[in-house]
């Protein structure tokens, strides 16, 4: 066994096999409708257009039921779109059956064949390609080494931990050198520690192979931490696509602002009066709006709040939580019935009941009805 490994890695040609030719994936006006027995139509994916650059790792992020998994299955070809097209590079694959698309799919619960060993599982796609056994064995071993399960080849899936099963599933998806790798909620079945480890692993494997990878998740942290870009979805519609930090810093609308961030963003109502943003307690926070007078939502990330003598947000501290490096304080602002969360440095002691003044380094203002961002 040991000797075999060396042979594979000594031969640089063989090693080249793990490197994939990257391809761009383009979705144009993709729509998928489901109708149930009583004829009620649900639009799972609504006029979804996105271009996924070649060789990138993209996270499809959204709450459950937002259509992200449906989108993934549409790309895989396991579902047929109601309208719109899918392109791999310049090739229109919209009506191509899944087996011709050249994709690798890792299912949420891995779907490893329980009666086959790890080796047989990884080799299964190669058998269908009529690859000679020796070559298939070598390639399977190489893939197993890539995902660090090379020494588990003769185990059955039920003898593996969740994380190991996950790796086998990835190896099986990668072994036939797909054009696109799709991962459905890849980390949801793993425990917290393993999740952290595995997401870095996915990142590493993606970098090493250079394969265009799309993964679906409802976990913002997961998406933000490993994606080159994230696509935020809600109610079947694309909300925003950008680098994770850009989406976090510059959300396009109220939904995106609320969906990203932990602890969550503070949202409270305020009014635009003559170009000034006026809070319910009468204080003016910022000026210079061109929109007409209306009620708006203000979004303040907890870390945007800064304690300052000159600040114009007055609040009374309700609860102080020490979270290691920083302190999180929950405070009440006159006129509002929900609490505001702020993350502040540990440079002074805060007491419950104390009155503090905040100013903010940055804030978002959203249209109260459409959620559209003004600032």
């Amino acid at each position: 066994m040991e000797k075999k490994k060396e042979e594979i890695f000594e031969n640089s040609d063989e090693r080249q096999r793990t490197v994939h030719h990257s391809i761009e994936v383009r979705l144009e006006n993709l729509t998928k409708e489901f109708s149930n027995k009583s004829g009620k139509v649900t639009v799972a994916v609504n006029d979804f257009s996105v271009t996924i650059p070649a060789g990138k790792l993209i996270g499809l992020l959204g709450p459950s039921g937002c259509g992200k998994s449906t989108t993934l299955y549409l790309i895989a070809g396991l579902l047929k779109p109601t309208a719109g097209s899918i392109y791999f590079g310049d090739e229109d694959v919209t009506n191509m059956p899944p087996e011709k698309r050249g994709i690798g799919l890792v299912f949420q619960n891995y779907a490893l064949y329980p009666h086959m060993t790890v080796k047989q599982n990884i080799m299964f796609p190669l058998e269908n390609m009529k690859m000679p056994r020796e070559e298939a064995l070598a390639l399977a071993q190489e893939m197993a080494e890539l995902v660090h399960i090379g020494d588990l080849m003769d185990r059955k899936p039920n003898q593996l931990s969740g994380g190991q099963q996950q790796r086998v599933a990835i190896a099986r998806a990668l072994v036939k050198r797909p054009r696109v790798l799709l991962l459905d909620e890849p980390l949801s079945n793993l425990d917290a520690r393993l999740r952290l480890q595995t997401r870095e692993e996915i990142r590493r494997i993606q970098r090493e192979t250079g394969i265009t990878t799309i993964f679906v998740t409802h976990d913002q942290e997961e998406a933000m931490s490993i994606s080159d870009e994230i696509v935020v979805m809600n109610l079947g519609l694309k909300q925003q696509m950008d680098r994770p930090q850009a989406v976090y810093e510059e959300p396009i609308n109220l939904f995106v602002a609320k969906f990203l961030g932990n602890p969550p963003i503070n949202i409270f109502e305020a009014n635009l009066v003559g170009g000034k943003l006026v809070m319910k307690d009468g204080e003016v926070i910022v000026e210079g709006f061109t929109q007409e007078d209306q009620e708006v939502y203000v979004g303040l990330r907890p870390e945007y709040l800064r304690v300052s003598e000159k600040g114009n947000i007055t609040a009374r501290i309700d609860l102080v939580e020490h979270i290691g490096r920083d302190t999180m304080i929950l405070c009440e602002i006159e006129g509002y019935d929900h609490l505001i969360r702020a993350i502040v440095p540990n440079d002074r002691i805060f007491e419950t009941g104390e009155i503090v003044k905040f100013d903010c380094t940055k804030l978002f203002v959203f249209n109260a009805e459409t959620g559209e961002r003004y600032r």
């Binding site: 087996e99 994709i103 690798g104 799919l105 779907a111 064949y113 009666h115 086959m116 269908n128």
Partner: protein, 320 residues
Amino acid sequence: MLEFKRDGSKAAICLAPAMLLMSVFTFWPIINSFIMAFLNNYYFAINNADFYNEMMSVPKSYGYFMGGRFTGIGIENFLALFRDKDFLIALKNTAFIVFVSVPITVIIALLISVALNSIKKVRGVFQTVFFLPYVTNTIALGLVFNSLFHVDYGLINKLFNMVGTSWINSGATWGRAMFVLMMYSVWDGLAFKIIVFLSGLQSIDKQYYQAAQIDATPRWRVFWRITVPLLSPMILYITITSFMGAFKVYSSVIGIFGTGRYGPIGNDKLLITIVGYVYEQFNISGMPFGVGSAGSMVLFLIILLITAVQMRVSKKWVHY
């Protein structure tokens, strides 16, 4: 602790009726049958007064058991059994039915269930059609086959322009009669197997098939490499129970040929089976019960052995 005790007595009370009935109608006869099989020249003559008196007047050196007498303890019944040409025929017939009809039925049932599982629209209709034999009386089915294959007016002979060819009527060859019995057994056996396989197929996670589809797996490989292994516990269960059932084949033979015969008129024992043979031994008053019991024991041993072999072999290919 007290709770536990009370539960125990409750369980005993609940089990009692079933255990009582089982004891009277199952355990007790099995034990007796086992004992009788080893009593040499065991004669039971309760229905025949003259014979009974004669039997009771024989010297005390003879043993008595359950109202019959015997001359000693040993394996004479088994020797008699294997000297009896009828039993050897029964053994051959039964073995043929078991080892031919069961594999055919299991394979056909598997193919039909996979086909049924892959259609959506009229599955219910087909399910009902295939399940009908299961709820139909064995004898009624036998009669249908009897008329289907009748030498003069049978539908089969008319359809294939073979009127005059005897399948089950006098003059029928072993091969022809066995063919009809095979058709019957397969047809009759399909229903239950299809239902079990279908429920098994429906419990297989669809994602295995999606994964196979993405890897461009041909249909036959999906069947052999995914469906069959994932269904293997069901296949094992069906195979073992079918083997047991087929070894006990009896009523279907009677159903096809008519009461009291195991073959066409003039060749009564053409398709006699082990159970048929045992029944014949018990059927005639004053006849050797011991030989019948010995026959039952042999049948029991064969089934036990075959099942043990199946369980052993299955460890290699059944995946739970």
